[in-house]
């Protein structure tokens, strides 16, 4: 599992080659807009990233969520996320509000078992949102965190159509009083950043820190010695829509 995140995705290579073929009919050379693969030293799972150093491809940040511990009615992770990231707009049509993280209630059709869990960007190793983004604004950082570059997002929403998890939101209204560490923008698409600004300082994502039941665990999936990797190695975990082979960085226990 750990090496899948850094392997070149054959599907993406194929589409890029096909795209280059189409481009070649009209142009001699077209270069992709963005190269963000960085080479650097691996960060330890809980270490802050040094200022000026690139994110390391040796690390794959991820989450393990224990659905058995997720309490009905509890929205602490949502509140913490939205406070941390300055997601505060309350529009008359709730479907136009951004939801970086949401609680989902599942009822198993076979036996009626009810499960609660938080759902957010799954930080896929092979993210469809990155494949379809026309400008390269949707990107995967070397350490596996999937982000949107607010400077190059044109607001076409193709990534929202492509995301299997409905994890992305479009900013429908002008924004005020933003958190300086988390720039957002009207007309751009956004989603969970895994609190990248906190992770880079060696902190945990806000949702993980806020969970009173300790249902969420954050860490480096690539480090066999990390708590998250050890737990994943020892208990059955689930990738949501594993059939799509997107290799999400968020895993669920008790689903």
């Amino acid at each position: 599992m750990s090496d899948q995140g850094t392997k070149l995705n054959p599907r993406r290579s194929f589409i890029a080659a096909a795209g280059a073929g189409v481009a070649g009919l009209g142009f001699t050379v077209i270069a992709p807009g963005l190269h963000l693969m960085a080479v650097g030293e691996a960060n330890a799972a809980t270490e802050a990233r040094k200022v000026g150093s690139a994110a390391s491809p040796a690390v794959r940040w991820g989450l393990l969520i224990d659905a058995n511990k997720c309490a009905p009615g509890c929205t602490k992770c949502i509140d913490a996320c939205h406070t941390e990231n300055g997601v505060s707009e309350k529009l008359p049509d709730p479907r136009q509000n951004s939801q970086w993280i949401r609680k989902i209630e599942l009822v198993d059709r076979r036996n009626g078992r009810v499960t609660q869990l938080p759902m957010m960007c799954q930080h896929c190793a092979n993210p469809p949102c990155v494949d379809v983004c026309p400008t390269g604004a949707s990107m995967k950082r070397a350490d596996g965190i999937v982000l949107v570059d607010r400077h190059t997002c044109i607001g076409c929403r193709y990534c929202m159509m492509a995301c299997p998890y409905k994890a992305r939101s479009f900013v429908h209204t002008p924004l005020h009083d933003q958190n300086p560490e988390v720039p957002r923008g009207q007309g751009c698409v956004e989603s969970c950043t895994l609190c990248v600004h906190r992770v880079d300082k060696g902190q945990q994502p806000a949702c993980v820190e806020s969970c009173p039941a300790g249902a969420m665990m954050f860490g480096d999936l690539n480090d066999p010695g990390s708590d998250i990797a050890k737990r994943i190695a020892s208990v059955p975990t689930t990738q949501v829509r594993a059939d799509l082979r997107l290799n999400p960085g968020v895993r669920y226990q008790g689903l």
């Binding site: 009209g26 077209i30 479907r95 949401r102 983004c133 026309p134 604004a137 429908h172 923008g185």
Partner: protein, 399 residues
């Protein structure tokens, strides 16, 4: 049709009136887009469930049809059919006009429409939308060169080569439009390679359905009569394309329904939703079966009026087709947890309803206005009315 015939001064005033109407509708559309940009998409009916709305229905219709209307030119230049060759310039003009209208709507609907230069300079080649940054400009260039080779006598010898290049390019372009949806990995309504060829056939049908009434209007306006031979050939071709779209639609839904995982979606879209009526009545009956009946029934098939009615019904059907496809496809919840009943604060597991707001409707109409105005001015400024050598056509076996 005699109501259209008039003296030159009346024609002059009619042109200015129509140009003013077209210009006004276009300007209102642009104003609506500016309002959306200023206030945000909160003033639209689109949201995080219905990511794409009415502007996408209309712009994708215009883009598909722009490619398809060029089929008339291809029949002439690529396949050597004399009847269609004289219509190639009009077909090229309509292609440029509709493409411009379609692109204007989709670009003006962007969350950051001011970042057009970013879109043009940052091209991600794994994205079909990224390909569009190449596909559309080259389309314009090829059609412009093609029109030049058709309308400038010295360049006529190159028209076949230019026509062939245009033909190949628009097949690629429309495959790209279909692939926008074909490449969506997780949505039940999309994600099938059938969509690329299906969009090409849709473009043939809808393009011809636009061409026929525009041609009729031009003939009527200039007081000339469309030769019955031309009329007969075009209506047969239109009927063939309508039947082909209907066939592919049936294959798409049957194949989807065969997969257990997609039965719930197919039941929803075909029988158990607001889209079922749009599909059966709008798309199938009004957009396909009725036009086919009009084009084949002996009482109507020989009359220009009814062939035009059939073509307009195909356009109405095209609207329903794309509305059901784009809006209906998003109304059904994503199956994120197969085997579970799901609910959340974000419409998970729930069927949703979309209503277009006024700014969206005006922006969409603006795209139609832009296409109309460009066509009107083009027809006025240059010679696009087809002139047929009937004796030659009949001698060639009416091809």
């Amino acid at each position: 049709m005699s109501m259209f015939t008039s003296n030159p001064s009346q024609q002059e005033s009619r042109f200015y009136l129509l140009a003013a109407i077209g210009g006004l509708v276009s300007a209102i559309g642009v104003a609506a887009a500016l309002y959306m940009e200023h206030e945000g998409h909160v003033v639209t009916g689109m949201n995080n469930q219905f990511v794409w709305g009415l502007p996408h229905v209309v712009s994708i219709f215009l883009i598909i049809t722009a490619s398809g209307v060029l089929n008339v030119a291809s029949m002439g230049s690529v396949f050597g059919r004399a009847l269609y060759k004289s219509r190639a310039p009009l077909s090229g003009l309509l292609g440029i006009a509709m493409m411009t209208g379609g692109l204007a709507v989709i670009m003006l609907d962007l969350g950051r429409a001011d970042r057009g230069i970013v879109a043009a300079t940052h091209v991600n080649l794994t994205s079909v939308f990224g390909w569009n940054m190449i596909l559309y400009p080259v389309f314009y260039g090829l059609v412009a060169v093609y029109l030049w080779t058709l309308m400038e006598r010295r360049m006529n010898p190159y028209s076949k080569a230019a026509g062939l290049a245009t033909f190949v390019w628009r097949v690629i372009l429309t495959s790209g439009t279909g692939s926008i949806f074909a490449f969506l990995v997780a949505r039940q309504a999309y994600g099938t390679a059938l969509l690329a060829p299906m969009f090409i056939v849709m473009s043939f049908a809808w393009g011809l359905a636009i061409f026929i009434p525009v041609q009729a209007g031009m003939y009527a306006s200039s007081g000339e009569k469309l030769p019955p031979l031309v009329h007969q050939r075009m209506k047969n071709l239109l009927a063939t394309f309508i039947a082909a779209v209907l066939y592919l639609t049936a294959v798409l839904h049957l194949a989807n329904a065969y997969f257990a995982k997609n039965i719930a979606f197919e039941t929803f879209i075909l029988f158990d939703s607001e889209f079922a009526g749009m599909f059966w009545i709008g798309q199938v009956l009004v957009g396909s079966l009725l036009p086919l009946a009009l084009l084949f029934h002996p009482a109507t098939s020989t009359r220009t009026l009814w062939v035009n009615v059939a073509a307009l019904l195909v356009i109405v059907g095209a609207y329903f087709h794309l509305y059901v496809f784009i809006i209906g496809g998003q109304a059904f919840p994503l199956d994120i947890f197969p085997g579970y009943d799901v609910k959340s604060s974000f419409m998970d597991g729930a069927v949703d309803h979309y209503t277009a707001s006024l700014p969206e409707i005006l922006l969409s109409l603006g795209g139609l206005g832009i296409a109309f105005t460009i066509t009107l001015i083009g027809v006025r400024a240059l010679t696009f009315l087809p002139h047929d050598d009937l004796a030659k056509l009949e001698a060639a076996g009416a091809d």
